[in-house]
């Protein structure tokens, strides 16, 4: 066991790298950052023979909002250090990392974002969150914990919505990595949720064509056997039940690699100017599932979903033979699944953004 854990530390500590790169290279990638502005885009295909839709390929270094600057700088520095990354093609596909098979989140990481946080998250209390939350997000988190202690907890999964990224990283169940030269899909069977990480050299979606996405807008490159990923434009949400919230300004850099035959490690650093006072670095682990017959199927959340929201914001079952009267009103699409605390928190974020 100890040997495995030590193996996980064999790779450079991303947080140290980030601090170093931030100190020496902020200006290098700065040209790519423009607050809420976009420049002319070139949507012409870049890879002869690619089957990808050329219109979906924004130019490299497409400007993105300034609140993603810190993570983008870190990502660009990693890319420069990797000399632009390892270029794989259909012809060199056999040299790409083999992440085939079925995987699952290491249960020892628990139902929490940072595995180093105390507690397991299974119905029991968690220790203090390791993130350095801003005062407003800390206050909202404390309000959430008070509501949970009173038995009032709702999960957007109960609305059959996806976990969304970065919460995606914490979810259990079966996972697959579909690795191709042009893009990598990271699939979790829950809600059949899939992240698409583009490694074909494209930039992020330009601001005037972008919107918050459940799993964000991810681009990446290969640094040998490590997939380096920059993700922006997530939909605001929570890191997990009983965990803090994150804002729409959240962005991440991940370094994903297979460290042995049965373990994939994801070093994740999160930036969130609204929710975090400093980047939050966590290391998550995924282990190979070896049970015979394990395979991913379509996950239909509504097939057996008899969880309803109580008037006080809690969760309850409708059991066989029971009938409950549910007052159903218009579901505001961007907020209906949130708690009242989250509505206030994210509403303040939006109001602040609109006032600028």
């Amino acid at each position: 066991m100890k040997q495995v854990r030590e193996g996980w530390r064999a790779e450079p500590d991303i947080s140290r790298l980030v601090r170093h790169w931030s100190a020496v290279g902020v200006a290098i990638a700065g040209f790519a950052i423009a607050p809420h502005t976009t420049l002319g885009q070139n949507y012409l295909p870049r890879d002869a023979g690619s089957t990808a839709n050329a219109a979906d390929k924004p130019a490299p270094n497409t400007p993105i909002p300034s609140y993603y600057a810190a993570s983008y700088h870190a990502y660009q520095k990693m890319k420069a250090a990797a000399r632009g990354g390892t270029r794989y093609t259909r012809e060199t596909y056999a040299k790409m990392p083999d992440w085939s098979g079925v995987w699952t989140s290491d249960p020892r990481d628990g139902l929490k974002f940072d595995p180093e946080q105390r507690g397991n998250g299974f119905g029991g209390p968690l220790g203090p969150v390791t993130a350095h939350l801003t005062p407003r997000y800390r206050a909202a988190y404390e309000a959430k914990l008070r509501n949970i202690a009173a038995g009032n907890e709702w999960d957007q999964l109960s609305d059959c919505l996806p976990a969304g990224y970065p919460r995606f990283l914490t979810e259990p169940f079966l996972r697959e990595f579909i690795v191709t030269p042009q893009e990598t899909w990271w699939i979790n069977e829950q809600q059949s949720e899939a992240r698409r990480i583009y490694t074909d050299g494209r930039g992020h979606v330009p601001d005037d064509a972008a919107q918050p996405l459940w799993d964000g807008d991810s681009i990446g490159f290969w640094d040998g056997g490590t997939l380096v990923v920059h993700t922006i434009r997530v939909t605001h949400g929570e890191y997990q039940r009983s965990q803090p919230d994150y804002s729409y300004q959240t962005s991440t850099v991940e370094r994903i690699r297979r460290v042995d035959a049965n373990t994939i490690v994801d070093d994740v650093t999160v930036w969130d100017p609204k929710g975090l006072e400093q980047p939050w670095h966590v290391t998550r682990h995924y282990v190979r599932v070896t049970n015979p017959g394990s395979r991913i199927d379509m996950w239909s959340c509504e097939q057996n979903n008899n969880v309803v929201r109580t008037a006080s914001g809690g969760s309850q079952f409708i059991l066989p033979g029971e009938t409950v009267k549910i007052e159903r009103s218009y579901k505001e699409p961007n907020t209906f699944y949130l708690s009242e605390v989250q509505k206030k928190l994210f509403g303040e974020d939006e109001a602040e953004s609109n006032s600028k």
């Binding site: 495995v4 249960p107 299974f122 009032n152 169940f173 069977e189 035959a261």
Partner: protein
Amino acid sequence: MKKLLLAFCLSAVIGPAWAHHSAAMFDFSKTVTLAGTVKEFQYTNPHSWLQLLVVSPDGRTVEWGFETEGPSTLLRAGIKAKTFRPGDKVTVVANPMRDGRPAGSWISATTADGAVYRLRPGGPPKGAEPRSKSAP
């Protein structure tokens, strides 16, 4: 070492709260043991439910429901869609609902032939504490 690691993972993955909903409706400080006849085994996502007809002390037959994981997790614990068939005699151990309704979070199920289908160690998970004193 790797075998030990995987064995640990496979036993730990079947915890009580791999859920698509809050677990606040269950009382993890209590367990109930009920013997009955299988009405239906709903082998579905996001959760499977074992519906059991239980004869109460006053002679009434009450349908109890026991929530557990979806098919892929159950399969890894050796529980298949036809493991529990209508009419089978089964004894279930579960954490009951806080509000007293006939349902619970499945801990184990024992069939007439003595086979035990356990998704997690008996009793509440380590460190588990009630999150509320009353039903929401």
